[in-house]
Each structure stands twice: as C-alpha cells, then as structure tokens.
Amino acid sequence: MSRNVLKIEHMTMQFGGVVAVHDLSMEINEGEIVALIGPNGAGKTTAFNCVTSVYEPTNGRVSFMGKPIAQNSPNKKMRKIYAGTMPDAFTDKTVRMSPDQVTKLGIARTFQNIRLFGGMTVLENVMTAMHLRRKSNMFTATLHLNMKEEKAMRQKAMDLLETVGLKELQDEMATSLPYGKQRLLEIARALATEPKLLLLDEPAAGMNPQETDELSAFIKRIKDQFNLTVFVIEHHMNLIMEISDRIYVVDFGKLIAEGTPAEIQENPAVIAAYLGGEDE
C-alpha cells in the first residue's frame, strides 16, 4: 500500500475578510503526481504557501509523512471575523514551522514568478540549495577544511545540471538564461535540497508548446529518478492531463472536484468553473 506523503485537513486561509482557501482537504500518496488546478485567483498558490509555511493557515492541519507541519485554529480577533468552517476542530495544539524547517523535512518548491539568485551563476544557484544538508560548520567552512564536502557538493550540482540539461551553462549568470531554462534551473535547485515531495508552481508558465511537451516527459523522468512525489499547480490542461495521476480542482478557494484526469474532464462543475456555466 502506498504511503501518505502529504495530508491537508480542512485547511482555511483567511486574509482579513477574504477567504482565499476554504476548507481544503486533500491527500497525496507516495509516488503520485497530483495536480491542483483552478481558474485564476482560485487560491492555488495560497494553498502552496500554506503547505510550505510561507503562510500560517487560519484553520486546519497539514501533515507531511504523518507528522503535522502546520496546525492552527482561529483565535482572538480572527475568531470574530472567521468565515470558514470547523473553527473548533483543531484547537488542541498549534504547530508553526518556518519555511526552511519544512524544506529540511523534505518539501521543496519552485515559484510561479521565478525566484532564482540573480547575482550567482547557474552552478552556484544549485550549490546554494545544498547548504542545508551540510555537515561542516562556520569555522571549518571558512578555513576551507571541508574541501571534500565542497567537492562532493560541486559534483552533485553538476550531475543535477546534467539531468536538467543545463551543464553547458553552469558558469552563466542565472538571470541571463532564457525563461524556459530558468524554470528548469529552479527545478534543479529544488532537487538539490533532496526532497521527498516536490511542489511545482506553474512550471510551464511562459513555455512554448514544444518546451511544454518536453516538460511533461521531464517531470515523469525526475519523479522516477529521484523517487519523488510531485504536487503541481498548472494551467496547461494538456500537461496536467498527461502527467497527473489525480487532479483536485478549486474555485473561489473551495474544492469543487477531485478525480482522475478522465473523470475531471467529464465533471460538469469543473466545466462550469472554467467556461462560466449557469448559476448554481
């Protein structure tokens, strides 16, 4: 039986009076590629940010490999204006982690609007992401007593660049790469943190159809090669339908459908959300 990697229970994220994510529950099992889709502003990236602890969810629980990484319930001021569901279900404890702790546990992500380290070369970008698995401390690193580790880091970074096909560009500045290659570099950088779960936020945005085709093969390939579970947000339906094992659909922060690609394509609620169907 496949193990549960990520479990989101009744997650609600409310900013002031705006409910960006409303009672979202989902499960991702080991080795799956799961997609989260929905129209613009549906709360997909907000859901990602809650999982990676950039935001603290207002209510609900997020667990990774069975261990809660975020849990909260509305209190004080938020309690009065809380517009979500089940305000009393998660009051037993509060769990709050910082994004770097979540990454250390094994969740890596890419960003919708590319966030590479612009002042660094391609190789350095990848090596920076290996910093969290270092064994050296400040003194040994400063005095360059960790040459073995540094060398291993460099080698591993090169291997990763080779995997994503950027080896030839290792000494270029990261921001000088074309858009599609920057996206690949972001994935390579995320892989360098040795994740179990990889979150991809619109990996195909800004890519041409040919690059998009290559990307779907690429995502499948790295999933097998690095033993990953992949959670992806995307707008390109072709890509989603091709790679996903299961799809969750959100609209206005609420989950409106879940199922296999074939089921989602037939689902009237999804078609309504995307094409603007009749009022409910």
Partner: protein
Amino acid sequence: MKTKKKFNPAMLWAALVIVLVYVAVFITEQLLPASSMLFTVLKKGATYALVAVSMNLLNGFTGLFSLGQAGFMLIGAYTYAIFTIPVADRMNVYQYYNGGLVQFAMPVVPALIMAGLAAALFAFLIGLPVLRLKSDYLAIATLGFAEIIRAIFQWNKLGALTNGSNILREFPTFNDFNIRNAEGEVTLYLSTLVPFLIAGVCIALIVMLINSTFGRSLRAIKDDEIAAEAMGINLFHHKQMSFCISSFFAGIGGAMLAMYQSTIQAKAFTSAMTYEILLIVVIGGIGSVTGSCISSFLFVACSEWWLRFLDQKQMIGNFEVPLLRNGFRLVVFSIIIMIVVLFFRQGIMGTKELPDLFKRKKKSQQEVKA
C-alpha cells in the same frame, strides 16, 4: 569545457600583486622618513580597509543595510585600550578613577581578538531584536545603537572601566612595532607593515568566508530572501552570523584605529565615521572586497593628504584662488560623492574582485589575437 580547474593563472597573478604590495610597503618604510604623509595614509588606509570590508560583508554580501559600524569600532577600540594599558601607567590614565578597575595588561594579539569578541557579543545581543527588521528600519535601529553606545561609554558611572569622557592613552600603538636597539634607535621599521598584516589576515578570513558555502547562502539571502528560505536557509541564523562576524572585524578595525591614533575618546566615534566607511564601500563597489580596499586608501589619501590644499589659501602668482578656505575640502568631497552616486553607481570595481581583472585582461588579449 574544462571541468577541472586546478591551476588558475588569474588567482596566481592576484596573489602576486598582493605580495608585491606588501614588499613595496616594507621597502618604502625602510627608505622614506617615518614622518612622511604616505605612512599616515597607509596606516589609516589599512584600518579603514578592514572596517570597510567588514561593512561590505553585511551591506554588500548579505544585503543588510546596517549603520552601526562606528559603534562596534568604539567597542573594539575601548576593549583593546582597556586590556593593554600597562599596569604602571594605569594610575596616570585613570587619574579620576583610582587607576581603574582592570589591573592587568594583555599582549597585543589576544587583546585584538578580545576587541573583536566584545564587538561580536554586542552585535549578537543587538541582533536578537534588530535583525527582524528590514532595510531602512534596520539602518535606523543600528544607527541608534551606535549613538547610544557612544553616550554610554562616556557615562561617569562606568568611569572605572571606560575612564568616562576622558581619553584613554599609553596603550601600544603601531609605532611600538618598530624594532629598536638598546639606544632606542629604530633598526627595522614595521609600524606600517604590521597594520597591513593584521588587516590582511582579517580580510583574507572574510574573503574565505564569502567563498565558502556560508558565503553563498549569504549572497542568496541578499538576492532573494523568500527563495533562500525556501531552499532551507535559516534567515535569522545566517543574518545573525553575518552581523556578528562583520562586527567582530569592525571591532578589530576599531582597535587598529586606536593604535593608529594612540589616544581614544568615545566622542570621536560619531555617525560621521560610519558614513565615511559607507562612502568607501559605495565608491569601491558594493559587493567587492577589492573595491573596498582600493577605495579606502584613495579616500584616506584624499581626505588626509591630496585634498588638504583646498583648506588653505593658495596663491597662483599674485592671484588668490577664490573659495579655498577651511572646510572647502569637504565641499569638494561631497561633490565627488554626488558624481560617483549619479554616474558611477557601480563604484570602482562593481562586484569584481582582483582575480577577475586578470581574467578579463586575458580574454581581451585573446580576442585581439583572434
């Protein structure tokens, strides 16, 4: 593509240049009279270079805009002075405080390290609340800290330690590094080489840090905090580390300034001093250690030597040059700064380092050949 980079000629050239500078300093010191203005510039320049590089580590490489440098220099200078004044002279120096609290004297090198550690300790404590602030707020908070420290060190109640608002003196200075014979004549001048060595070792350590995996993380934080955090870099720990290390070396720089001046007084460590250092960093290029070093010597040479004539009446034949009077130097200085900021925002070096210069030269030569 070459993957093995065992031998890097640019690095070798850079090392050669540095060695040549040291040799040149050593030789000129033996030849020229010790009173030459050149040595004043070199000594103060070496001191400022270290402080500027330490500030660059914070502002240029970590992206933390801190203006507390003068405060940390003050702590370093006082720590050094307090621990090195010879016991015999303490009664004299601390004449209003019964010879002061500390009744022992340390050798110079441990005292320098103590100076750095004291500054780093203060940085650690200040950093706990302050490093959660962003950009401008951090600058204001650190500036405020420096001003407070300056006031506290002049506080009468701490006089047994800091000598209140009176000067501290009699501690070993750069001139004490000269080797003298039994008659007290100098046989070997080292008073300029030693500050170069101290600053050199410290700057080398900073460069090594910048080139390590920790340095990469600091640059990542500067480039994009959100991405750095998402890559598992603990923002607070790394900022705190950078802040403490920067302050450690600013403290040593302060101790060197004390050695250079031979007397110190807290009221000299004003925010104007921080601005001078900030200027050096900006002129040299934010994010370039080499730039900070070069520009600190240029800056000190201009302010102490080359532009001095602007402060005095100058006659060309019978014509008295207008505008030249006391303080005009600062006006010219401000204009230079404005020009740099407006037209040469990259500074002297941009983000390039010494070895990069040789790399580029080589490349352009190759292009010429081709």
